[in-house]
Symmetry: C2
């Protein structure tokens, strides 16, 4: 077994430490974050920090980092109050990754990375046409994290746009059918295979697989 303690972690070479810390927590949710400015310029960036915060009301959190060129994103979300999260598929994950490049202001990552905008009535922010699961959110809370200057945004899910037959009879999204990818660390992409679905756990009842309906 290898052990690293606080002092040793801080002494690691910078890029090694970034790769290590970014990948420690395991596989992360992978989404394209779509926004639009008040001037109508769209922005798209790949993120791996979205997390489920609760189902009632339906809330997701995302982390926005100050040191990256995501300030357009934060400005857009604060000014329009809206944003979208869209899953990433193997056929075009390289295009999704390319949205992390630092393009000049005024350039839309939708255009340069070959991703198509999808708009729906009553919602300003653009969705990604090529995705199969698309979520529209309205900003509810902005939490500035003083320790490292990041910002946690909490949004309410107000739009769900899914391709046909992606949602099972009980409401669970079938991410294998949706071809949703996941990411570990900064740049390693994966496609999960189903292992099992387990029944609600109770004390004294042996853990067992859920019967699929």
């Amino acid at each position: 077994m290898e052990r690293l303690q606080r002092d040793q972690i801080y002494q690691l070479e910078k890029q090694y430490r970034i790769s290590l810390i970014n990948s420690l927590v395991g596989y992360k949710s992978l989404n394209l974050l779509g926004t639009i400015s008040n001037e109508g310029i769209t922005n798209l960036c790949i993120i791996s920090s979205a997390f489920h915060l609760g189902a009632n009301p339906p809330l997701l959190g995302i982390v926005i980092r100050p040191e990256r060129a995501h300030n357009d994103t934060l400005t857009n979300i604060k000014s329009t109050g809206q944003y979208t999260l869209n899953n990433v598929l193997p056929d075009w994950y390289m295009q999704a990754h390319q949205t992390s490049a630092s393009y000049p202001a005024g350039v839309s990552e939708f255009d340069v990375c070959g991703l198509k905008k999808l708009y729906v009535n009553g919602f300003k922010a653009p969705f990604v046409q090529q995705s199969t699961i698309r979520i529209g959110l309205e900003l509810r809370e902005v939490i500035d994290i003083e320790i490292n200057g990041t910002t946690i945004l909490i949004g309410e899910i107000v739009q769900i746009l899914s391709d046909d037959q992606m949602i099972a009879a009980d409401g669970t999204v079938d991410h294998v059918k949706a071809k949703t990818m996941t990411v570990a660390g900064l740049d390693s992409y994966f496609l999960p295979e189903f292992v099992g679905r387990l029944a609600y756990a109770k004390p004294g009842i042996e853990t067992h697989e859920l019967k699929q309906s």
Copy 2:
């Protein structure tokens, strides 16, 4: 394409909505959260809400829900200031899932679910012996989310205990080698397969795979 808007989302049958909202964001980081009380009673619960917050200082966030019986966990973390996150492997993921059952106070999920405690000098909270990637954290910030009564905990990574050869030469954790699982929704478990590792994206440079060293 299927579309659900805010009013329709609120009108969904309760269990359907919970399953849908929980699974929308995609695959989630899967970890066992280990704590100990001031009286020495250990606690272990499976969580899918851990997220990377930053590498310098090395920070992770987790969401603690009030409505679940995880209050022991929150009490333990607040009183000792320490907790651990441990990855989940296919050989014993049913035991990990079983930690989500509501056991009476005083019962340790380590014992009833057959998971072995691992302690290291200088750190109070128990790690999971069977895991291959284990993270020790110290509590840095408690954020109460008023909208839904959840709590976001921000912790600093102060211990990394990994089985041998789980970390690549550049610092990235090899989660395929580590056999780390992921979860979608409440109860569906997956094992990812590697698709590709992409080079740092730059404008005007075609997206390409990173040469593995």
